[in-house]
Every structure is written in C-alpha cells, then in structure tokens.
C-alpha cells in the first residue's frame, strides 16, 4: 500500500535555529501516527510546514502520490489536511456553528444559511461521536468541547488527514480516554491521524507507528507494538534518562508553612481554588500534581500575592501572609520561580543586571532612597553570574537575548540568593534544556537540605515524584489527597488527578 502522505527530507531554518533538519515522515490511510519529541524538537514546525504555515527551505511533500506545493493553510485545507492546534484557533465570541463554518460558509442568497450550518454540524457530530452544542458561544463551553469543535472544523472542511497538536495537554485522563475513542472512530471511518505529543504513555496506548524527533532531526520511525517506553525515551533525549534524582534522606523540622481552607476565583470569576489546606515542614518538598488548569496556577498566585484569596488562612512561621501584597510576601522571604518566565519572571528588555534585582530593586544595598546604587547593582550581578553559571557572562546583555535555560537561571539566582524561607517553584524546568534541568533540580534540593520549605508545582509527573517528599494532587480546585512520594506511582497519581480516590492504603499526610 502506498502512503497517503509523505514528507521527504524537510529542512526549515529560522534565524539562528535549524528547526527541521532533513526530516522524513510517512502516513498510511487509517493510521494513527505519533510524532514525538521534547519541547523544541521541531514537531510543531514540521506540522506547520505540512499545513502551509511555513515554507521549508528544502524537501518535498507527496499527498496521494502527487507532489504538493502548499502555500498557506487554505491550500492544505482544500487538499484535505486539517489541523487541531495546541492553542485552539476558535473565536470565543462566535458560536460553535459559526466557528466551524468560518471561511467556508453555506449561503442562501447573500446571507449565511445558519440553519443549514447547524444541521451539518450536528450531522458530522453524530457521525463521529463528537458531542457539541452548535448554538452555544465558544467562550461558554468547556475545554473538552472546544477541542471537539476544533476537530469538527477540520472534518467540516473534508479533512482526510488530521493533525492533532498536543491534544491531551489540557484534558483530564477521562477526557483523554474520550479523545482516544474519537480518534479510533475517525480512523475506522478512513481518516488518518498525525498525533503530536511528548507523553510516551499516550503514544504507546493509541498509536500505530511512532516517529521521533530530537533537536530538529528525525531519529527514526518505529512500530508501536515493537517498542517500549524506555527505547522511546532514549530516542527522544539521546541517552538513558535518569528519572531518579539523587537525594538525601529528608530531615524535617517544624511546620513552616500552614495553609488552610484557602479559596480563590480565577480570572473569569469562577471558583478556581476550593478550600485548599496543607502544611510544609522545614526541609520538606511538597509537590503539587494535577492536570494543568485545576487550580495550581491560582494557588501559586495566591501564595505569592499575585491574586486575592476569597477565604482561608496562610501562615509562614506562624505569621499571617493572607492576602498580603507581592512585595510584603517577598519581604517575608518567600521566593518564587514563576510558571511562565516570559510573562512573569523577567522584564525581557531589561539587562541581566537589572533583572537580577527585580522585586528587590528598592531595598538596600541596591537603592538608597529613590536613587539606584549602580555600583552595588553591578557587584551583585558580577557575583551571581558566575555562581549560577549564567551564559553569556555579560551583565549588560538584555534578558531577551539569553536562552531559555539561562533566563531561568537568572530567576533562580535572584530568588535563591536572598536566602528564602519558603520557596515556591512552579514548572521550574519547563522549556529548559537537559543540562539546566539538572542544575535547577540540584539547587532546589539544596534549598530543601538547608531546611527551607519548598512547594513544587509541575506538570511533569516524574519530576514531582522524584523531587518531592510528599505529593498533593489537585483536581478541580481541591486537593483530593496528599500521598507520600515514596509510595506514589504515576498510576496512583493518575487516578487522583482524574478526581478518583485510593481506598485507604496510602498515608494522608495532612
């Protein structure tokens, strides 16, 4: 059988980056073909090339045996290639039906034939088992349904090949299972799917074949039934992965951080945190596991003074920090590695030197009155840059010009240097290269061993399991359980993350 789609020797360059280097991919009809690799491996670039959003410097694409010259998404759509983007491409203020027909609207006279549109949407939804409310506005429907709308958009346009870009990132385990069923139903009816992810378990569960990318290069294509997690991991990172972090026996002190019945709203005014309680002892790392969007972000924001809580208590050393300002909380020696360093942790157009005092800029020795002390700023930078191995070693470089790992090191240097009592690290290794990950893990453990309280929020279960002493699992704004890290497995946490419970057995830490 001929493949329905072939990408041959695709090379795509961006200024300073080789995003795709001579990559091959083929797809057969009715197949689920997984495309895996670490963040930044070039998966999304390759798919954007296929979808006509980028023009590759070299390489050819064949579809149903014909060489393609795709210029823009419109061409790809007309050929029957549909893409479900990681960040949904939906207009929140329009209805589900309007979003689906956008760009190829059924008409009656000059008008949009909205009845026909709704009927068509419902027909497609029934055929593939994708339940949606055609007349609801997209901003009012849950994330899982938004994803189904995205898939329907592609099907409405007659997609034969569907590209799903990290479709599970925003879903609960049950919703993921529902998505798998949809994917199977689609392939049974002759559609072919390219499934982009970096989660190995998902790949092994659902795909037929797997292509691995690493640093822009195609490492190889394997048949799912003939491989295993370990082999895939090795292909992805290029060496045996050390999931076990070496860590010393914990030496817990007194309770430093006490949070009880903390509640808060999210940006849309809906309850995002519902009566959350936990304690962290000196010398302890409490991990927070959970599918993203279950209140972790809001929890961290409340604890760092970036969001107002609606109820509860929050004490450090017995002193209340409840609804204090970000500045007051910093002054109480709470350090914060934020989830999104571009949005929160750095002023990208400030120099490394200026970023190294962000949040502390108004204090001695960096300022006297309203005057900045430039000598002390320089000295501070000259000390921290080598100590935290920030490269390039240039305090006057703009933070923007540094790599992700080095940007994260600026934040780590700044937050750790002032001797925190309570360290809040949110997704500390996201989008950071392997070397920097190890460095950051080591530094976090050092803080723990020095007797600090650490709250670690991470979407990477292996990271949470290997670094934490105890793990709290969040689901829909609540902590459903707190388990001992030593007894935690991905399976157990997975059940909790889906809102399930473990009957007895595991110690409840709080």
């Amino acid at each position: 059988m001929e493949p329905i789609l072939e990408m041959k020797a695709i090379t795509k360059r961006f200024p300073g980056v080789l995003a795709n280097d001579n990559v091959n991919l083929d797809l057969y009809q009715g197949e689920i073909h997984a495309l895996i690799g670490e963040n930044g491996a070039g998966k999304s670039t390759l798919m954007s090339v296929l979808f006509g959003m980028y023009t590759p410097e070299e390489g050819e694409i064949f579809y149903k045996g014909q060489k393609l010259d795709i210029d823009g998404p419109q061409d790809a759509i007309e050929l029957g290639i549909g893409m479900v983007h990681q960040h949904f491409m939906l207009v929140p203020t329009l209805t589900v039906a309007e979003n689906i027909i956008l760009g190829s609207e059924p008409k009656r006279g000059l008008k949009i034939d909205i009845e026909k549109a709704i009927a068509k949407v419902n027909e497609l939804a029934n055929k593939f088992g994708l339940q949606v409310d055609a007349t609801a506005k997209v901003k009012d429907i849950p994330v899982g349904m938004q994803q189904r709308v995205e898939i329907l958009k592609a099907l409405y346009r007659g997609a034969e090949v569907l590209i799903l870009d990290e479709p599970t990132a925003v879903l609960t385990p049950q919703e993921v299972e529902g998505l798998y069923q949809i994917m199977e139903s689609l392939t049974e009816q002759g559609k072919s799917i390219i499934f982009i992810t970096h989660k190995l378990k998902e790949v092994l569960r659902i795909s037929d074949r797997i292509t691995v990318l690493r640093k822009g290069k195609g490492i190889g294509t394997v048949t799912t039934s003939e491989t295993n997690q370990k082999e895939l991991a090795r292909m992805m990172v290029g060496r045996e992965v050390l999931l076990e972090v070496e860590k010393e026996e914990a030496d817990f002190g007194e309770v430093l951080v006490e949070v009880s019945n903390l509640s808060a709203f999210n940006d849309r005014g809906m309850e995002a945190l519902n009566s959350v309680s936990f304690q962290i002892r000196a010398g302890e790392i409490l991990g927070i596991a959970g599918v993203e969007g279950n209140g972790q972000t809001e929890l961290v924001e409340v604890l760092t003074g970036l969001r107002e809580a609606t109820a509860g208590e929050y004490n450090l050393h017995g002193d209340s920090l409840y609804n204090h300002s970000a500045r007051k909380i910093k002054e109480a020696k709470v350090a914060h590695i934020p989830e999104d360093r571009h949005k929160h942790g750095l002023v990208l157009d400030y120099t490394v030197e200026d970023n190294l005092v962000l949040g502390y800029h108004y204090r001695e020795p960096f300022a006297k009155g309203i005057n900045l002390n430039f000598n002390n700023l320089a000295e501070h930078a000259n000390r921290l840059i080598p100590e935290y191995d920030i490269r390039p070693q240039n305090k006057e470089a703009l933070a923007r010009s540094l790599s992700g790992g080095n940007q994260q090191k600026i934040i780590v240097a700044r937050e750790f240097d002032l001797g925190p009592e309570f360290l809040i690290a949110s997704q500390p290794t996201r989008g950071v290269d392997v070397g920097a990950i190890e460095f950051i893990h080591r530094r976090i453990l050092e803080q723990r061993d020095e007797g600090k309280a650490v709250l670690l929020v991470s979407a990477e279960l292996p990271e949470v399991i290997s670094l934490s002493d105890r793990i709290a699992v969040m689901y829909e704004g609540e902590i459903v359980d707190i388990v001992d890290a030593a007894e935690a497995t991905e399976e157990k946490l997975g059940i909790l993350m889906a809102g399930g419970s473990l009957e007895g057995g595991i110690a409840n830490g709080s």
């Binding site: 207009v91 008409k107 000059l110 008008k111």
Partner: protein, 295 residues
C-alpha cells in the same frame, strides 16, 4: 412645559436627524475598521478631507453628485494610507490616526490656499438638493446603518470581519486573508467618513470652511463606543448626541451653558467605558498588528 414642547418640537427632531447623520455614518465607518481590528481615530481627518474634496469637485464640475462621489473615492484612498501604515508596516494605529488627522488639517488648508486663495472659507458651490424635508445624505446615512447590520451579522463577509477582529490567527488558520479583510474594512471606513464629510459641506452647507468637522469625527468615535461597537447602538448614540447638539441653543435659554451640553457625548462615552451602564468592550485583537505564525 412650554420649553419641553419647544425641545421636542418637529423642528428639533428634524435638526436632530441632520446633526446625527454625519455622526452615524462616520461611526459606522469606524465600526467596520475597528471590528476588523484596526483602531480608527482618523475619522476626523477622513471626514475633513471628504468635505473638502466634495466642495472642490462640485466647484470644478458644478455637479454636487460628483462632489459626493469624489468624497467617497478620496475618503477610501486617503484611508489606505492608514491601512498600509498600520497593516503592512505595523505602525501604532493611534499614531497613524493622529498623523492622518494632522495631514488632513494641514492639507485641506494648504489646498484651500492653492485653489481658493484663502485660509478661511471656500467659495459657495452647488450643494446637494433637498429630497423632501432632508438632504439625500440623511436617507443614505440611515441606509448605511441597516446595511452595516446586515453585512456584519448576516453575511459570510461579516462573520469573517468579526473573526479577524477577535482572533486573527483563528481566521488565518482557516484560510481567511486577514490583511485583505482589514484593508477592505479600513477602506470602507474611509469611504463612509468621506460621505459624512460631504454631508457637512454639500448637505448642511455649500462650502468648505477650515476645520469644519470641529470634532465630529471624535463624537462619531464616541458614538461607536457608546453604541458598543454595533450599528444600531451607534445609530442610537448618534441620535442622542445629535439631539444634544440640536437643543443646545434652547437649553442656553434655560441658563444651561452650551459648553456643558457640548461635553455630553464625551462624558457619556467615558461613563460607558467605565462600565457604569453596561460595559463597552472593544474587539479583542484591536490595535495589534497581525503577524503570521506568531501568537
């Protein structure tokens, strides 16, 4: 009581409609542009240019209808400067709007000097005829509002315009040409602002006077915002603001200074933006240049 009957007399109501016409037309122009994601504070300048061209064409041809046509064409072309600078060169749309206004203010007087050899008021030209109680532009203006509602909310083009203004990358991902939609919408805004200007110079008057729009472009902008970026909302706000202009003189008789009445549209708009009477929220992607591939 007597003053109330005076205020709500037939004469005031027809004068309200006359005053509201340029506001509504220009507001609808602004609406197309802003719904597609391009801020348009250039309405004032576009109107002024339209008013001027209308008089010039009528002066040279003697046919006011050609003047009107000239205002539409030139308004659309003039707006293309705003479009190219904002869309192609990603300039700050507010800055570009300011520059259009400045160019129109300077350019019209410059040309007034060249053509009419004065800095004040042009010669009188043939104005538009009356159709019944009103000038044709009043009827056209009402038509423009209804057409805008139909186009924006019932047609594929309107759906695309709204999607481009709210989430251009979503529109792009289904093959909609975001830039093309924006060029068209900014063009329409120029055409309509030109029409509004022609109403002033060939409908209300029969000549061009320096700076004759006197802030009406900004009142139109206010009407568009106060009307929550919808055609009928903009019409309602224009009528309200037109009414406040129409009764100014009468209210002065009651001891209310005209200056305070003049402030009404602006104060209302600030109140509407503050959300005191139902928050007025602009299209999400407004003011942001569109760059393919970025999000």
């Amino acid at each position: 009581m007597e003053i109330l009957t005076q205020i709500f007399s037939l004469e005031t109501l027809s004068s309200t409609l006359r005053m509201a016409t340029p506001l509504a037309i220009a507001a609808i122009g602004g609406l197309y542009s802003e719904r597609s994601g391009i801020i348009n504070i250039a309405l004032e300048g576009l109107m002024l240019a339209g008013a001027f061209i209308a008089v010039v064409v009528s002066y040279f041809t003697g046919i006011p209808w050609l003047g009107l046509l000239g205002a539409l064409v030139f308004g659309g072309l003039f707006a293309m400067i705003h479009a190219v600078v904002s869309i192609k060169y990603h300039a700050d749309q507010v800055v570009s709007g300011v520059a259009i206004n400045m160019l129109a203010a300077g350019g019209t007087v410059f040309m007034l000097n060249i053509i009419f050899n004065t800095s004040g008021t042009s010669e009188s030209v043939n104005a538009l005829p009356y159709w019944g109680p009103f000038k044709p532009t009043v009827y056209i203006g009402l038509l423009v509002v209804f057409i805008a509602h139909y186009v924006l909310f019932k047609t594929p083009f309107g759906l695309r315009v709204r999607s481009v203004g709210e989430h251009p990358h979503a529109a792009d991902s289904v093959g909609i040409d975001v830039e093309k939609i924006r060029y068209i919408c900014v063009g329409i805004s120029g055409i309509l602002a030109g029409l509004a200007g022609a109403h002033l110079s060939l409908g209300v008057l029969d000549s061009f006077r320096e700076g004759m729009t006197a802030g009406r472009g900004f009142i139109a902008l206010a009407a568009m915002i106060f009307g929550k970026w919808t055609p009928f909302g903009a019409l309602g706000a224009s009528l309200l603001f037109g009414f406040s202009q129409a009764v100014q003189i009468r209210l002065q008789g009651l001891g209310i200074p005209t200056e305070f009445v003049q402030m009404i549209p602006y104060i209302f708009t600030i109140i509407a933006l503050a959300g005191v009477i139902g928050k007025s929220t602009p299209p999400t992607a407004i003011g942001e240049p569109f760059e393919k591939g970025k999000r």
